[in-house]
Symmetry: C2
Subunit: 224 residues, 2 copies
């Protein structure tokens, strides 16, 4: 196994010199798959020619993340947006009474951060935790703002991503207004069976807004 640095700081330069993605992946610093996944994801929202894609990717850095590692810690301001090409993350925070609440899961591929913290550049309520070992790309706040200023298409990407993040949030919200905890669990099972299997029940429970004991009972009720 090749030992890798936490972040490959020369990444920007390499891309700007138009060395190929293939060369980068040969260096084993960032996988070809990660870059392909990134480009494919971005291209779902905006059309990028090679020049724009180079400009975009050259603002990203690369990082290896261990299972359970925090991508963002509560009380710190989110100054990065991460791109997940694989794996998934958990959002959680601590309530006044000390109990921990899992508020969200985000699955690859996608851009993730605490948008509420990132957008207004104020301390985050939530922690973001890697649920599995993963490689991520990330861009810093000030670099993204500069891209927004200089590249209309990247601003569009930002708009489209914000819109989609909103739609996801609204769906989650509506599940609380429309469905019982039991309904929400059954829906989750049907929609994301692979994940439900791999997520500890007490995380799922608090995501559904109930206790682990209640979810355990719901699960047993459903079996019969």
């Amino acid at each position: 196994m090749v030992k890798l640095p936490d972040a490959f700081v020369n990444f920007k330069v390499v891309i700007n010199n138009h060395l190929s993605i293939e060369l980068l992946s040969m260096n084993d610093r960032i996988s070809e798959n990660t870059l392909k996944s990134f480009r494919a994801f971005v291209n779902k929202f905006i059309l990028t020619d090679d020049k724009l894609f180079d400009t975009l990717i050259s603002n990203f850095e690369y990082k290896k993340v261990a299972r359970k590692e925090l991508l963002l810690e509560a009380s710190k301001t989110a100054n990065k947006i991460f791109f997940l090409s694989e794996g998934f993350v958990r959002f959680y925070h601590t309530k006044n009474d000390g109990t921990e609440v899992t508020s969200d899961f985000y699955f690859a591929p996608g851009f993730i951060t605490s948008f509420t913290s990132f957008i207004d550049q104020k301390p985050s309520i939530v922690n973001i935790q890697a649920m599995v070992k993963m490689d991520v790309l990330f861009i810093k706040y000030k670099d993204l703002m500069a891209l927004y200023d200089n590249e209309h298409k990247v601003e569009r990407l930002g708009r489209l991503l914000a819109e989609q993040v909103f739609i996801t949030s609204e769906k989650h919200l509506l599940s609380f207004l429309n469905d019982t905890p039991q309904d929400r669990y059954l829906w989750l099972m049907k929609e994301y069976p692979e994940y439900v299997k791999n997520i500890p029940l007490h995380y799922l429970a608090s995501y559904l807004g109930i206790t682990a004991e209640s979810l355990s009972r719901i699960r047993n009720r459903s079996v019969k």
Copy 2:
């Protein structure tokens, strides 16, 4: 009282010919206050010179809306974004079991539509109902898309608004994960006392995710 047409279709032309806001308001077609409120609101997000503001406003139309009138009907695709300079609206939909759920309230000033319908141009789940008589401005989907293409700053406005709408939605969502219905009611009372007074209890109840009977009891518990 002056009789007004439902929508003043010549509005675009007047603005494009650089006739003044004052003239418009003298015609009693759209109030000076509405336009001022619109410009002030937009300027919280982007800096508009007169040229850009004219371009922007010339794409909007004006409409008088009666209390209880629907700005958007469920099953139809939202093809407009409205600007509310006054008043507030209610979002509601009907569940499979026939019960009506109030999912949201939006208060002026602000841009409102069913973003989930508008963004992906698919049929809306929700109805949007005016809670009071009001004047609104609105822009059509295709006109906004054209503005996004031609005016980077308007695209930025779109991004910033989508971001803020997301933040609002996330707050609402977190209130379900963090707080009891009673907590949520007390918070609402503290934050928006004026509105709580004017919104029928059964609307508030379903917004909080509980029945009207439960909210009535919560309210009486709180008094003691």
